[in-house]
């Protein structure tokens, strides 16, 4: 067989090229090593001038395997070859690949036939709004949920009221804070000192701090105070 002008990118890889050469030489896969296929394979590789590096390594590794087997074949050898001999392995690999190509070819036929079945696009179908089926709903559950919310609310309110009884905390009240409270209360009308204290449970600390806050606001001219008689409640109003 003379020089083949093969383009390696026509082949799926070294096995594909080898199978092609076997087919062309009309020999059995088992006979590749006593034929001149190794030379043809190497000639094909040599003829290739542009290589993709990935492809190249596959083709070249195969060339070296072929050469190794070929050179060994020149030496006298004992029969039969062991299972894991590179020659046996390569033959099996080629046989398997050949079988695979055969079914792939048949599958190609299936594919062509199936391509004649045409499908349709999904219809644009007007749909009603999503419906939900809610599981585990009961009136008891609903009232219980509401009761829980209210209980939590009560708890929260109670917690908000707690600071007055928890005197352990240092500096529960600060002068600037209570100055703020006073000014806020004064926005619309005048207030009395007592009404500024927390309901019922005002502590000594709170009274003292509130008094200091009043003095501070007086000093800076923000408020005016009036007391009708000693020990009477102090009426506070904003300076206008």
């Amino acid at each position: 067989m003379s020089t083949l002008t093969l383009h390696l990118d026509q082949f799926e890889g070294p096995l594909d090229l080898l199978l092609f050469l076997v087919g062309k030489a009309k020999i059995d896969i088992k006979d590749i090593f006593i034929s001149d296929i190794t030379e043809q394979y190497i000639a094909a590789i040599n003829a290739q001038n542009a290589w993709d590096m990935d492809d190249a390594s596959d083709f070249i590794r195969m060339a070296s395997t072929l050469l190794q087997i070929k050179s060994r074949a020149l030496l006298p050898r004992q029969e039969p070859l062991p299972e894991n001999d590179p020659e046996m392995i390569l033959i099996r690999q080629l046989e398997e690949y050949a079988a695979l190509k055969e079914v792939a070819q048949e599958m190609k036929g299936f594919e062509t036939a199936a391509a004649k079945i045409h499908e349709k696009l999904p219809e644009e179908y007007p749909l009603p709004p999503l419906t939900f089926e809610l599981t585990g709903l009961s009136l008891e559950g609903l009232t219980e949920a509401f009761a829980n919310v209210l209980a939590r609310l009560a708890e929260r309110n109670a917690f908000d009221a707690l600071p007055t009884t928890r005197r352990i905390v240092r500096e529960e009240f600060t002068v600037p804070q209570l100055m703020g409270r006073i000014m806020k209360e004064l926005r619309h009308h005048s207030v009395s000192f007592v009404s500024l204290l927390s309901e019922e449970m005002a502590t000594r600390e709170e009274v003292v701090t509130l008094f200091l806050a009043v003095l501070e606001l007086l000093r800076t001219g923000k408020i005016l105070c009036k007391q009708n008689k000693t020990y009477d409640d102090i009426i506070i109003r904003k300076t206008t």
Binding site: P129, T143, L150, L162
Partner: protein
């Protein structure tokens, strides 16, 4: 002619793939047939579908033909394409729903005050499930949306009117709450 025997099937195949209405004139040109032949095939196809009460129907309008589905089966198609979502309400959605049920009409801000947490997501999910709806706007700054429960809500809970909502169970008094929480 064998061609003619097949024509009804060819027509069916073409209409199936086309999806859109197909002009009868286009059919006569492409299949090299007379309008009468096409119309005859259309008649056959139509009566085939009618006789077996097929899921597919032939729609004819003007000089167009189109395949569609029989309207009798719409409900099944809907069931298939949009299955009922089975789910239960999350705890926060249920709480939000309970507040709206007992306090309606109410605003999101009111709900949030009672629950003490943002409730936007819960409200949206209840709206999506059609358990609550907008019933108006409160006449205050910002004109916030008022929510109330829907008829769907009643049917989900198996009652016919809001008056059937049970009375609230006893709520532990505030004093007790204080005692129990002050331990931590």
């Amino acid at each position: 002619m064998e061609e003619k025997k097949k024509l009804v099937n060819i027509l069916e195949a073409i209409l199936f793939v086309a999806g859109d209405p197909v002009n009868i004139e286009d059919l006569t040109q492409n299949l090299n047939l007379t309008e009468l032949e096409i119309l005859h095939a259309a008649d056959q196809l139509e009566s085939r579908y009618e006789s077996q009460n097929s899921g597919i129907v032939l729609k004819r309008f003007g000089n167009h033909l189109q395949l569609g589905t029989r309207s009798d089966y719409a409900v099944y198609i809907e069931d298939m394409l949009q299955p009922v979502q089975r789910q239960s309400l999350s705890r926060s959605a249920l709480e939000t729903l309970a507040i709206i049920a007992y306090r309606q009409p109410t605003t999101r801000l009111d709900i949030e005050k009672i629950r003490g947490v943002k409730s936007n997501y819960s409200v949206q999910s209840l709206l999506a499930k059609n358990l609550i709806e907008e019933v108006g706007r409160r006449d205050t700054i910002g004109r916030p949306i008022l929510y109330g429960t829907t008829d769907q809500f009643l049917s989900h809970f198996g009652i016919t009117s809001l008056s059937e909502l049970p009375d609230l169970p006893d709520i532990p008094s505030m004093d007790k709450q204080i005692e129990t929480t002050s331990e931590d």
